[in-house]
């Protein structure tokens, strides 16, 4: 049963990496920023921290030399999310991306969820245009997918429609909306003030609400059939052989 033991090892490696980053590199970056970057510190510190959080996922994924079927699953789901985003181009903010990412996380675990989100965020901007928002979007989508995977594993998040919808709505509104707004504020201000942030949240409120509602609607409609399909695919690809054996 080599496949079953491996994930444990990976989690360990990831934890170590994460610990190193949290304890050494992030404080280092903050100190560097505060002393050297002056008034542009907030944006650069936050950007670097975003990248640090994404790096371990990527490195661990690369390190373990994923098999063809794992790549395929991530690529197909990310492509569905991107194609879905493109298909609903006429409705601003009404996108299925978060819904697909959450389903990916629930079905294939936190790592896959993160990758699907980050890749979807990145690639969709090849079609819609890269910009300073790219790393923020990648991070938000990715972290939502990761959380979905972790919470499902812990048993907090269930595969039921209600549970997914609640999580999806909250995650979209608070995590995606929350972080993206901070990102755009930091982009061009030198002082972090609560008032300015609040103004951003207020101005983005309706966008975030529509986005959250879209996620809930999509999760309500596609989560169950999609989970069924993915479960079928898991058997067909032989992704859960070890459990059968």
């Amino acid at each position: 049963m080599p496949e079953k033991q491996m994930p444990v090892k990976y989690i360990d490696r990831r934890t170590i990496l994460a610990a190193v980053i949290i304890l050494i590199i992030i404080p280092g970056t903050i100190l560097f920023g505060v002393f050297f970057l002056k008034d542009r510190k907030y944006y650069f510190i936050s950007l670097l921290i975003l990248i640090y959080t994404m790096l371990p996922f990527m490195l661990v994924f690369e390190k373990r030399k994923p098999q063809a079927r794992e790549l395929i699953v991530v690529a197909v789901l990310a492509a569905i999310a991107v194609a879905g985003r493109a298909a609903f181009f006429m409705l601003p903010q009404f996108k299925p991306v978060v819904a697909v990412v959450i389903i990916a996380g629930v079905c294939f675990g936190g790592e896959a969820g993160f990758l699907v989100g980050a890749v979807a965020g990145f690639v969709s901007n090849f079609f819609f245009g890269q910009g300073p928002w790219t790393p923020w979007q990648m991070f938000c989508f990715g972290i939502i997918g990761f959380l979905a995977g972790i919470l499902y594993k812990k048993g907090i998040l269930k595969k039921t429609r209600l549970s997914l919808c609640i999580f999806g709505g909250l995650a979209t509104f608070f995590i995606y909306g929350g972080i993206i707004n901070i990102g755009s504020l930091l982009m061009f201000t030198s002082q972090l003030s609560w008032k300015a942030l609040l103004a951003y949240y207020v101005s983005g409120f309706w966008f975030d609400i529509v986005h959250a509602v879209a996620t809930v609607v999509f999760l309500y409609a596609i989560s169950q059939p999609m989970l069924e399909k993915l479960d079928r695919i898991k058997i067909k690809y032989g992704l859960i052989e070890t459990e059968e054996a």
């Binding site: 569905i80 298909a87 890749v119 399909k229």
Partner: protein
């Protein structure tokens, strides 16, 4: 017109854009900001033609004004108070200027990214990261392959569903939404089931064997070396200027910047050359062509 800078090696393209975007985001010094804004605008017009001018006028200018106005409403730092708002907060000259500078910076970055999108095509990106993150860059390549395919399939499914009376253009709003989601669902099944053969094709061609390499059709030649050396030298000058404090400007509580000296003029010139590099390359190529043609 074909952009000559795009024909350079992807490393050159990427280093250049990283440098100009990062410095564009970082330097609020009016001279540097101006250089960056003008260069970004020139290059984007060169790359994307008249479309950009329209976009600039109708999208970026209003955004610029909006952002310049909104900053003083929340930021009340600064010494030079111009007037007071109704809620008693002061509006200062410094915060207005800061808002303007930040807005120009934002617009400049957007313009730089529009150039980036035209020059750094996906295959260049995948080539650059193919060695560092091979699996992820393969995923990127696959997603870029799948997305247009899925969009075409959505069309096929939508037509097939239309012929049984179930398309997004048929029925009331709820019916339409249901049909749209049904199309997405059919597409998902189709995508997942057909991807099994893709996985087979990958395995069959030896994917998963240790020591995979990554192939590219790009060559790093003498011209690229020269360009890289030039870019690095210019960045070095810029960083030196930065370390000497020449590139920064303080807005609050009062505006102050380093004095203009020979060195600072040198730094500004270096920055101008760096930002304008693709434009210069294009002009040089053009002249060369005309010369060759006139001789033959």
């Amino acid at each position: 017109m074909r952009d000559a800078f795009s024909d350079f090696h992807p490393v050159i393209n990427f280093v250049y854009f990283t440098a100009v975007i990062m410095s564009g985001m970082f330097f609020l010094h009016p001279v540097l900001l101006g250089i960056s804004a003008v260069s970004a605008f020139t290059y984007s017009v060169l790359l994307n033609g008249k479309r950009t001018v329209k976009f600039n006028v109708f999208c970026l200018v209003p955004m610029l004004l909006f952002m310049a106005v909104i900053n003083p409403a929340f930021n009340h730092q600064g010494r030079t108070i111009l007037f007071y708002l109704k809620n008693g907060n002061p509006v200062t000259l410094e915060s207005i200027l800061y808002g303007a500078a930040a807005a120009v910076m934002f617009v400049t970055v957007i313009l730089w990214f529009s150039c980036y999108n035209a020059v750094m095509t996906s295959d260049k990106f995948i080539y650059l990261f193919g060695r560092i993150i091979p699996s992820l860059s393969l995923i990127l390549s696959m997603v870029l392959r799948f997305v247009p395919r899925y969009r075409a399939q959505i069309k096929v499914i939508s037509n097939a569903q239309k012929c049984i009376g179930r398309d997004v253009s048929q029925g009331n709003i709820i019916k339409r939404a249901q049909n749209g989601i049904r199309i997405l669902s059919v597409m998902t099944t189709w995508a997942l089931e057909n991807a099994i053969e893709t996985a087979d094709s990958m395995k069959s061609r030896g994917y998963g064997l240790p020591k995979r390499t990554s192939f590219s059709i790009f060559c790093f030649d003498g011209r690229d070396k020269a360009a890289l050396a030039a870019i690095i030298a210019l960045i070095a000058v810029l960083l030196a200027g930065s370390a000497a404090g020449l590139n920064t400007i303080r807005f609050f509580p009062s505006i102050s910047a380093a004095r203009i000296s020979f060195f600072s003029i040198g730094v500004f010139c270096a920055y101008l050359i760096l930002c304008m590099l693709p434009v210069f390359i294009n002009i040089a190529e053009n002249i060369k062509w005309k010369y060759i043609k006139s001789r033959s």
